[in-house]
């Protein structure tokens, strides 16, 4: 109940944030912009629309997750609004969970709007839509869940700006983890240990990237999808727990 009210309040805060609308409009423009490449051959054109569309949804969703996410907690601490929450009979982890759920809801709705934009473009251009597109959208949402949790984790102990930088770094490295492992295997000693350690600790965000499957119309088996979902949820749970532990110990001063 308390978690839910905090989530609803966070969602309402997001809705009254202009940044969100700006990002959403940009995303829709990007998705629509693929129409200027109409002179390509038909197969290439269809692939391009899907590629740009999914890429835009992913990119702008991550931007929203980061730039709205970092503000979730650090803004509350900087503006001291948290004083009136923590002084109520609300445990700190309930506050964090509420904030997280609020932003997740915002992201879910945004993704739905962007996906609707993409589907509209696809429909206008008579591009056939396969089930794998929806699976890819699902894994994109899973990635948002992780990125939001990363932003939340950083914002429990650092400023908004630092959190943004850290989260962006995790996002970029998270997509390079397969390379990290490959690179590490070519090295010796400490370098190898560090890179392999990073491979196992950092989220492997490439697992959520099914764009290739969509553009080449390759289906993803349900079993694989469940594995990806389990990985995403477990990783998110781990991040939220870590954030709670850190948040529980800190002074609001």
């Amino acid at each position: 109940m308390k978690v839910l009210s905090i989530a609803v309040n966070t969602f309402r805060e997001n809705l009254r944030d202009k940044l969100l609308y700006n990002l959403l409009i940009f995303a829709l423009l990007m998705i629509g912009s693929s129409l200027i490449f109409m002179r390509l051959t038909l197969g290439e054109f269809h692939r391009l629309i899907l590629d740009i569309g999914l890429g835009s949804i992913n990119f702008f969703g991550v931007l929203i997750a980061i730039f709205v996410g970092i503000g979730l907690v650090s803004k509350e601490i900087e503006k001291k609004t948290i004083y009136t929450i923590v002084s109520k009979p609300v445990a700190r982890f309930q506050f964090l969970l509420g904030k997280y759920m609020g932003l997740s809801l915002t992201l879910l709705i945004n993704t739905a709007i962007m996906a609707a934009g993409l589907l509209a473009v696809l429909h206008c251009q008579d591009v056939p839509v396969h089930a794998v597109l929806f699976k890819a959208l699902g894994t994109i949402v899973l990635e948002f869940m992780i990125i939001t949790a990363v932003a939340l984790l950083f914002s429990t102990f650092s400023s908004a700006t630092l959190s943004a930088i850290f989260t962006l770094a995790i996002y970029v490295i998270g997509h390079l983890t397969p390379d990290l492992k490959a690179f590490g295997q070519k090295m010796e000693g400490l370098g190898r240990t560090v890179l392999e350690g990073m491979y196992y600790i950092l989220p492997n965000l490439e697992r959520f990237n099914l764009k290739g499957h969509v553009t080449h119309q390759l289906d993803v088996p349900v079993g694989d999808l469940l594995m990806i979902a389990a990985y995403g949820m477990a990783y998110t749970a781990f991040l939220l727990m870590l954030a709670s532990v850190i948040f529980q110990r800190r002074d609001f001063r």
Binding site: S5, P89, F252
Partner: protein, 321 residues
């Protein structure tokens, strides 16, 4: 639930050390503070800027963790979130969600206490009325003046019908009328059996309102007790006497009795330190047929105590250094 004679707020040897700056220099904001607030009283928590009032209150509300000592609210340790179920709190400067309207704002805080539905709506209406903000029910908080924020802040602190209300400088930022209203509100809370603890450096307010006060300086308790006790302790009742047409000889007779004397044409003003001196001076006036204009006892105030204690702390630190 705490029993009737158990203190509503119990603070024992509370300490807070902040680490500031790059090198983690230690700043002791609260230094072994112990005090009790009893059920049903209005308790003033006084001290100059930087004395550690806000730091203490933040420890009570679980916003920061004590470096040492313990504190309970309504019999429960402050670290337990359920200790706050029957506590209302107004932070030092009101910082609230400015994208909410007053009504949404109060509803949100009501939800955090598990209040719902029409009971909550009714409570919100009552509170907006109580703090005189009914007209701003649908206005976003970003459009509020400081005084209006303070008012909804107080309403927010009362949403759960608390047994104990802790207010950090509730009168700050309010005009004289607003201050009077807050004073009346605090007295009304007391009438309904609630305990109020508030911090302030406006001593006049504390004098008018408080059953007991604690005065802290540099994180330490320097005085605690009933206002009248504290004021009269160690002070002599000075009296200011104003006289007209006192002859030069009479003036010379009064002069040794007075601790201070000012001549103003026909008029003489003398400060007399005790009752004996007042009596003797009056005898002189009668003997010289002078006209007594006024005889006013100088009422000692909390301010005198405050300044005296501040000087004491100052000297103590100088001796130390």
């Amino acid at each position: 639930m705490a029993s009737a004679d158990e203190p509503v707020v119990n603070i024992q040897q509370l300490q807070k050390v902040f680490r500031v700056g790059f090198w983690g220099r230690r700043v002791t904001a609260v230094d072994g503070l112990s005090l009790d607030v009893q059920r049903g009283e209005v308790f003033g928590f006084l001290g100059p800027n930087g004395a550690g009032k806000t730091t203490t209150i933040k420890m009570l509300m679980g916003l920061i963790y004590p470096s040492g000592g313990t504190a309970t609210l309504l019999g429960r340790p402050v670290a337990d979130p359920s200790a706050k179920a029957k506590v209302g709190f107004l932070p030092e400067s009101p910082y609230f969600y400015d994208y909410l309207t007053s009504q949404e704002f109060l509803r949100f805080y009501g939800h955090l206490f598990g209040l719902l539905g029409s009971a909550l709506d009714k409570r919100i209406d009552e509170l907006l009325d109580l703090v005189g903000m009914t007209h701003a029910r649908d206005l976003q908080l970003r459009k509020f003046s400081k005084g209006m924020l303070q008012r909804v802040g107080i309403a927010q602190a009362l949403i759960n019908n608390p047994d104990l209300v802790i207010l950090d400088e509730p009168m700050s930022g309010l005009d004289p009328i607003g201050r009077k209203e807050v004073r009346d509100l605090i007295l009304r809370l007391k009438e309904t059996g609630k305990t109020v603890m508030f911090s302030s450096h406006i001593l006049h307010d504390a004098e008018l309102l408080c059953d007991r006060v604690a005065m802290i300086m540099k994180g330490r308790l320097v005085a605690c007790g009933q206002v009248s006790e504290l004021i009269n302790h160690g002070t002599t009742q000075e009296v200011e006497m104003v006289v007209d047409r006192l002859s030069p000889k009479g003036i010379e007779e009064v002069r040794p009795l007075a601790t201070k004397m000012v001549l103003h044409g026909e008029r003489v003003m003398a400060v007399l330190a005790s009752q004996r001196q007042v009596d003797e001076a009056l005898d002189v006036l009668r003997a010289h047929k002078a006209k007594l204009v006024s005889l006013i006892p100088h009422k000692a105030s909390l301010e005198d105590l405050f300044i005296r204690e501040a000087k004491g702390v100052q000297q103590a630190t100088e001796v130390h250094a």
